[in-house]
Amino acid sequence: MIKINNLSFKYNKNSNYILKNVNLNISDKKISIILGNNGAGKTTLFKCISGILPINEGRVLVDGLNVSTTPNRILSKKLAYVFQVNIESNLTVYETILLGRNPYINFYPTKKDHDIVSKLINEFNLGEYINYSFSSLSGGYQQKVMIARALASNAETFLFDEISSNLDISNKLFIFSLIKELKSRGKSIFIALHDLNDALVLGDYFYMLKDGIIYKEGNKKIINKKNINELYNIEVEVKNIEGVEHVIYKKNL
């Protein structure tokens, strides 16, 4: 569960506010999705929630813990953050997923840590890549490894920043079904997405972020022609095809 009260953020004193008086309530057993342009402040918001950026104005609570006063190690047991990494790493796939157990490991990983990692490797079909270095994998597989790593921490709350962009269709659907399963296990999930149709498939509750302000929030109904036009400045049609809402982009290229 994430509760945000009056969060405002700027990178330094003289710059403009990236987030302006944001109030959010990410509840359990729901998939909440945040939509917005590049630069709207989605990633900044996620970094504030996960304690990466210091919070000076407002308050963020994760499972009741105040992010700015809780030590990283305690927070990292509650919250897992998945984002795109573009990093050369010679750690193997196994070692990378094991990193998710880091908050629990003092020096040597225990049998429990290895059991959790092994189970995830089987679930994610990563068996043949166990001893491959992370850098040698394709972007999609790196993404999968990073998601497995996040699950290894047994957190209650998950932040996913643009996770589907590197994945092919089958891997994307695999990750989506996994996220839905997390939801059914009672976890709270907060996702930043660009693809509106992906958002409609996954989401239960939606936030629209524009220039650092939560400009609309609500269920599927807020993804409509008018709001999308105001948010992204594009023309769309939202059609219900066989019971599923679809966003159709109208611009001719």
Binding site: I52, H114, S136
Partner: protein, 350 residues
């Protein structure tokens, strides 16, 4: 890869390879260590060395050569090679920069500048004569100033790895210039001792220094090993490390402090020995990957092996002369480093 094995078994195979590599390095080190006790440019022959080492020949002057001079020197090579190997690796991990090492960041040359100030301005004849301004604290002070400067630059100005390396070049030039100016105004005797100090030369090794060095390496190694999980997270960047519960500022500060300490002590005791701090971790990353729990000790062991080997070469290459070992490590290290860079093979799978 055999897919009938469970993930954990496959992981174990990988770990076993790393352990075998560590064992291999350890055994090689012991063999090379004893070999080094037996080899010299002049004086005692190989066969006499063997009989003295194993107590068959009890001639006291032979014993003095083997157990005082050569043992101290070889022990210094072992421990300083180890120190430089792990110091370079820790700098690379914590600055997230493969080009980092005591010599490329200018930490070594800053330590040398500190030592030169101590020798020339405070007339420190041997390294313990003037407590606060003697070479060790001065070398440490300036190497810490440099590493702090680099950390602040790379954090606040978001320096790229190459920008950090270029700053290292600038720092090296600057400190070298100060050292030159000091030497220019120094008396002949002080000039001679400061120039001699700047050579990476293991013949200066003595028991006292070795003990200090062993204690420092031991303490640093324990700290680095305890941080190894955190280092594994730092490979993926500060943000991921923080989200995995790593208190990155504390880890980075403590790590770089001890890495600089090892470098400063090495410079104070035997002068500047380049290339081991960058060469040894790079070779080991190739062979056993980045997992810090195994990479840290193996980089140290390989550093020891390289320095002892270079020391042996420095003793035998010109009969009856001991070349400064710093020259040998650079002459052998530089081409070898190019070889590693050129032969780099990384393939995209999938």
């Amino acid at each position: 890869m055999n897919n009938s094995l469970s993930p954990f078994e496959q992981y174990k195979i990988n770990i076993r390879k790393k352990r075998i590599a560590l064992l291999f390095l350890f055994v090689s080190l012991i063999i090379i260590f004893f070999f080094s006790l037996l080899i010299n440019s002049g004086g005692l022959s190989f066969s006499k060395s063997i009989s003295t080492l194993f107590g068959i020949d009890n001639t006291s002057s032979y014993k003095l050569i083997i157990f005082n001079i050569r043992l101290n020197r070889t022990l210094a090579a072992l421990i300083i090679g180890f120190a430089l190997g792990i110091s370079g690796l820790i700098m690379q991990i914590n600055l997230r920069n493969p080009l980092a090492s005591p010599s490329t960041l200018g930490v070594s040359s800053s330590a040398l500048m500190g030592a030169t100030i101590s020798i020339i301005l405070f007339n420190d004849k041997n390294i313990y004569s003037a407590p606060i301004f003697s070479t060790i604290p001065m070398a440490l002070l300036f190497s810490l100033i440099t590493i702090t400067f680099i950390v602040v630059l790379s954090r606040t100005k978001k320096f790229s790895p190459s920008a950090v390396a270029v700053s290292g070049i600038a720092i090296t030039s600057f400190t070298a210039a100060i050292t030159t100016i000091l030497q220019f105004f120094a008396s002949d005797t002080l000039l001679a001792s400061s120039v001699h100090f700047s050579f990476g030369d293991l013949s200066r090794a003595n028991q006292m220094n070795n003990i200090i060095m062993i204690i420092s390496v031991f303490v640093s190694l324990i700290i680095f090993m305890l941080f190894s999980n955190k280092y594994n997270a730092i490979y993926y960047g500060d943000e991921l490390a923080i989200s995995l519960g790593v208190n990155i500022n504390v880890v980075r500060f403590i790590s770089l402090f001890f890495a600089s300490l090892l470098c400063a002590l090495s410079v104070s005791f035997v002068g500047v020995i380049g290339f081991i701090g960058i060469l040894s971790p790079h070779i080991m990353k190739r062979f056993i990957g980045n997992e810090a729990r195994y990479l840290i000790p193996s980089s140290g062991l390989l550093g020891s092996i390289i320095l002892i080997l270079c020391d042996i070469i420095s003793r035998i290459i010109i009969p009856n002369f001991n070349l400064p070992v710093g020259a040998v490590t650079a002459i052998i290290g530089a081409p070898f480093f190019f070889f590693i860079l050129i032969s780099k093979k990384e393939q995209k799978n999938d």
